[in-house]
Structure formats: C-alpha cells, structure tokens
C-alpha cells in the first residue's frame, strides 16, 4: 500500500490512510462517538467505531466485549492479543473461525488524546492492511484545528467546528458543521459545503456568480461579489432581519458564500457560512484531496 494507492481519510478529529479504492459506505455518529463502514468494490471491508473517553480506556475490557460479540454472531474466537508498540497505544487482536482469520485493533492513536478507535476487518486475510491503517492513524484534541477529508470534501477548519450531518448521493455531497466554542450548546456559526458533480454541465451557459445569484432567497440581495485570482467566487447574500424586532434594531441577515470549480474532478463546490464573529474564508483546498497531507497531524 504505497502512497499513490492510498488517500487520507479524516473526520471527527482522527485520520488514517486508506486504499484509494475504499469508500465510506456507512457514516453515523458525531465528534464524541460513532460508527463507520468502508467498502471496497461493493464488498464491506472495514468496520470502525470511535469514542472519546473522559476516563482512562480499558483496552482489555473492549477486547473482551469484541470477543463476546464475535462469539454471539459467528464462530470467531480471539486467538491472539498483543499490544501496539511505538507512539500509539492499544491492542492488536486476531480472531479465527471457519471463515478464516480476521484482524482487529483497539487503538489510541495519540496517548495525549482520549480517543479510542475500534477497527475490525470484515474480510478474512492478512493483517497488513489493518497494520498500515494503524501505523498511519492520528488523533486530535478537542481544541485543535481539524482537517476533514471524506466523500471528496477536503478542508481544514479552526477549532470547535463539529460535523453534524452529511448527505452523500450520486452527484452531490452535502455536509453541515456547527461552531460550538468550548462545546457550548449555543451555536456560534454554521457552515454548509455542497459539492456537485458535472460542474461543466451545470455551468454550461452561466457563470458561477449568476448561478449563485439565481439560487438566493427572494428577499436576499448579493453584495461584495468578487473573483479571486484562482477563480474562487465570493459574495455576501444580504437580507433584512428575520423578525420585526431584528428589523427594528437594524440587524441584517448575512450569508457569506463562496464557490469554486475543482477542474480535475469537474466538481462545483459551494460554501455557505452564517454566524457571529469573523467569517470563514473560502475553504478551497489548494491541491488534490488525494495528495493532501495533514501537516499538523503528521508532525505529531
């Protein structure tokens, strides 16, 4: 699994390298915990769960739970458990049954971050893919800036932006983040990214700014429209306050919009930010997401 055949997958403050042919099929959960499943050419390949603990994780107990679940649903038995060495903590687990040998890991990518990943191969075979995934894994603390690389989206966000929903369908990926500084319940900002396929077809007879303008709400007007040197369009959609009280106070509702085309994959990406404080700049990733390194994480 050399670098050309892999890409970075980063979500909810952790990352690892996966083979380029793998795709995220199931994606449930939030920053604190969740579940994901990867497929390789329609075949379920890897199961992943994560959890951020407030106490010291007990790896042995997690492995015992995994063994119990494996016994309930199949004839798999844990035959070997060994500690993960190096800068990462956790246990590597070998399970054997009539279908073959499966490998799993209970992994804490960074001992200073209270995040534990439970990874399980869904196909029997070599432990090499799992070991490579474990060796490339990283985790970030709650208050760290976070990279996000999934479903073709590639962006780096400041701290405390939490992914709250994704929609991935043919030709469109949509994701919503909320800004909750220091895990406060009140949302300080909302970010929506939409990534459309067939950008050249969408924008065949229209420019990006016209396309955006046609999709504004009726009461909105566009101002401060500008194109950057790399072709990124940015503008502010401005509207009167939503309530009579806000209008009386002279409050305006502003949405900061940005849009650009990813030429290599013919995608149109539209970014929308709304909230208090300084707005997010256009989050256009400067290179192909496949090659996108995670400098902040890989230096750790």
């Amino acid at each position: 699994m050399n670098d050309q055949a892999t890409r970075i997958f980063a979500i909810h403050g952790f990352s690892f390298r996966i083979p380029a042919t793998w795709e995220l099929r199931v994606n449930k959960g939030y920053w604190g915990n969740g579940y994901q499943m990867f497929i390789d050419h329609r075949t379920p390949t890897l199961n992943l769960t994560w959890e951020r603990f407030s106490r010291t994780p007990d790896y042995d107990r997690t492995v015992a739970r995994m063994a119990k679940r494996a016994t309930q649903h199949s004839d798999l038995k844990v035959t070997k458990v060994e500690p993960i060495t190096g800068s990462r903590q956790g246990l590597r687990v070998r399970l054997e049954g009539s279908e073959g040998v499966f490998h799993a890991a209970v992994l804490r990518p960074d001992p200073d971050v209270n995040l534990v990943l439970v990874i399980r191969q869904m196909l029997p075979g070599s432990a090499l893919p799992l070991n490579r995934l474990v060796d490339s894994s990283h985790a970030l603390a709650e208050d760290a800036p976070t990279p996000w690389r999934f479903h073709g989206l590639a962006l780096d966000l400041p701290p405390w932006w939490r992914l709250h929903g994704t929609e991935h369908m043919v030709g469109l990926t949509r994701a919503v983040w909320f800004h909750r500084p220091k895990n406060r319940l009140k949302t300080a900002g909302v970010l929506v990214l939409r990534r459309y396929a067939c950008a050249s077809r969408i924008l065949r007879e229209i420019t990006i700014d016209r396309w955006i303008e046609e999709r504004l709400e009726k009461r909105e007007t566009m101002r401060q429209r500008a194109y950057a040197s790399d072709g990124t369009f940015s503008a502010i959609a401005d509207a009167p306050g939503l309530s009579p009280w806000r209008r009386l106070r002279g409050v305006r509702e502003e949405r900061h919009l940005a849009a650009w085309i990813e030429e290599g994959e013919d995608r149109l990406v539209v970014q929308e930010w709304k909230g208090a404080g300084p707005p997010l700049p256009p989050l256009r990733y400067p290179q192909d997401p496949k090659d996108g390194a995670l400098p902040r994480m890989e230096n750790t």
């Binding site: 329609r42 043919v170 396929a197 067939c198 077809r201």
Partner: protein, 124 residues
Amino acid sequence: MSNPARLDADAVAEAIPRLREDVTVSQSEDGAIRLRSAELRRTRLGSALAWLFRLPLRIEVELDEIGSWVVARMDGRSMQDLATDLAADRKLTLREAEAALTVFVQSLLARRLLTLEGLIRSCA
C-alpha cells in the same frame, strides 16, 4: 439463506442492457434520443379505463443528454462497462456511476423499454 428475489449486485453488473425489439428510437432536433414503445396491450376494461382517463396508447420518453449518451452505448456492453465509461466521461466515481446507471436502467425497465440480458440466467 439468501433471498432469491433479491438480485446479486455482481449479476446485475454483468448483465447486458438492451432496448426491447419493439421500441423505436428517434432523435429530436437538439440531439436528444426519444424512445417509443409499441402500442400497449390492454384488456377491454383496461382500454375503457384508458379511454376514460385519457391514458397514452404507448410509452414515450425523451432522454436528457446523459440518458441519450448511455442509450447510444447500449451495444452489447455490460452494466459494469457502461458504468466505467460513464464514470470516465463524466468524471464520477465508479460507485456514483453505478448508482446513477442502476436508477436509470430501473426506470427504463419499469416502462418496459429495456431488457437486461443474462440476468435471469444468472439468478435462476
């Protein structure tokens, strides 16, 4: 125990979509392909109801640019080959192309404009 009614994804990938023999293909002025089925066979009651509700005598659909592109390539290529070609042409991921093609083929199958060769045999 596997469900026999549930189609295997690999069997569908190997199947070859073809327009039915009684479907006529025409092209509109802007290049879009139009598919027209033979006159629908109905019972007397069905015919009466069709007359009453002004239902069409035959199914006729006009395809958009991508649909026309796909139908023009239904020359014996399998679903997998078509998906690969579509992914390359439209810069989609293979999974996106497969999903889009499956929905498109399903809609043509439901209108009885298409058959999937090889599918029945592999599922039997």
